[in-house]
Amino acid sequence: MPPSTLRFAPLALAALCLCVPHAACAADGPGSAAVAWWVWPIALFVVTFLLGVVAVLGGVGGAVLFVPIVSGFFPFHLDFVRGAGLLLALCGALAAGPSLLRSGMASMRLALPLALVGSIASIFGALLGLALPASVVQTALGATILAIVALMLRTQGREAAPAAKPDALANALKMHGIYHDPATGADVEWRARNTVAGLATFAVIGLLAGMFGLGAGWANVPALNILMGVPLKLAAGTSSFLLSVIDTSAAWVYLNRGAMLPILVVPSCVGIMLGARIGARLLRTAPTRLIRRTVLILLVFAGLRALLKGLGIWN
């Protein structure tokens, strides 16, 4: 795929999403048996492949696009889509984790206490999501996606100054260290601040991740960098590692509840991972600013769709 044509990837994705329900509604409503079953895994593969490409280029996690788009434009019930979203985020985090940990771009020292709070909260989030009526969860999902867009716009291009002094809890948990930045060739000393507020924030992030199956990269990085004063690169790497723990807890709840449809999960995981590989390769040459803007528009569109679907206005 030539980089110059990449600007059309989000548009192609939007067009595909709009076409899917028309195909599905050929007979008596979404999910009708009038559409051959095999159309859905192929459509999922194509859509998630494109999602994988634009997610990397747009600097967002795949699940944050996957859940609102697939729940809004595919016939699968939201319970299954959220379970698949968590697994998709988990697969990506597990794949990225080893190299991040080995290179020191993710810190277990920093992640483990936050992951503990986040994973407990994500279990409650998953239970809450499975207990609430789908319309309520869909409405809340739409509102959350729109809030994520606002957060992304607010924090875009911002990088907090590193924490000068750790707080008492960060000291007790030894949330400090050194990482090697290969870009500058320098060893960077880091320490965390606002640990209590950080733990509380990760409880909320875990709750939302479990409830909506969104993964949580969209919130992890600003929480680690802006709130806790962790350098941006370490925050991004540690965020990916955190996802692998937080999403595991919530994914077990969905798996134990039986909310895993292989026909939804596997083509989506494979599609988004292949797309992410292509996206990562194109990262240097693609018009990323334009794509990031388009991804934000896509998120607004998907968020509005989820909101209106949840409210029963656009079914």
């Binding site: 979404p30 999910g31 095999w38 190299s99 039986g258 992410a276």
Partner: protein, 146 residues
């Protein structure tokens, strides 16, 4: 999602602790096996080599339902009940999903002994508590529902 290939030859920083490297090694191996199992079982399922519990023709009638109604309509299992259904193509895929869910637990289990040996009590306690949380989530006792 930024995907980075789990490389055996990835740059290893001298600032990385021994337990972090151990965690990474198990995470890498577990993830590779989990993906392979996930894709292999899906191929068995999609090719029809193992008959599914819910046929492909019927599936679109059920996937629009909330999970409770889906289970009631299909007679599907909850908790670890899927193990009894594992010979059926659709539930065979749960092996790969469950394996990926076990990877993090195995990694935590791997780092506990070196942490205890180093007498890093605080970090060991955090790792032990996380393991307990993950085990509780995986136990099948927490399933929720509408």
């Amino acid at each position: 999602m930024e995907l980075k290939r789990p490389l055996v030859s990835a740059h290893v920083s001298s600032h990385v602790s021994d337990e972090q490297l151990r965690y990474a090694a198990w995470m890498d191996a577990g993830t590779r096996i989990g993906f392979l199992v996930l894709v292999a079982t899906f191929c068995v399922y999609a090719s029809g080599l193992a008959a599914p519990h819910v046929s492909f023709a019927d599936l679109p009638k059920y996937w629009i339902l909330p999970i409770d109604q889906y289970l009631a309509a299909t007679g599907g299992p909850v908790g670890w009940g899927w193990v009894a259904f594992v010979a059926r193509g659709d539930y065979m895929n749960f092996i790969g999903v469950a394996f990926l869910g076990v990877v993090t637990m195995a990694c935590y289990l791997r780092i506990l002994p070196p942490l205890l040996a180093k007498r890093d009590w605080v970090f060991a306690a955090v790792a032990f508590l996380e393991l307990a949380v993950l085990l509780a989530a995986a136990s099948g006792a927490i399933t929720g529902g509408h």
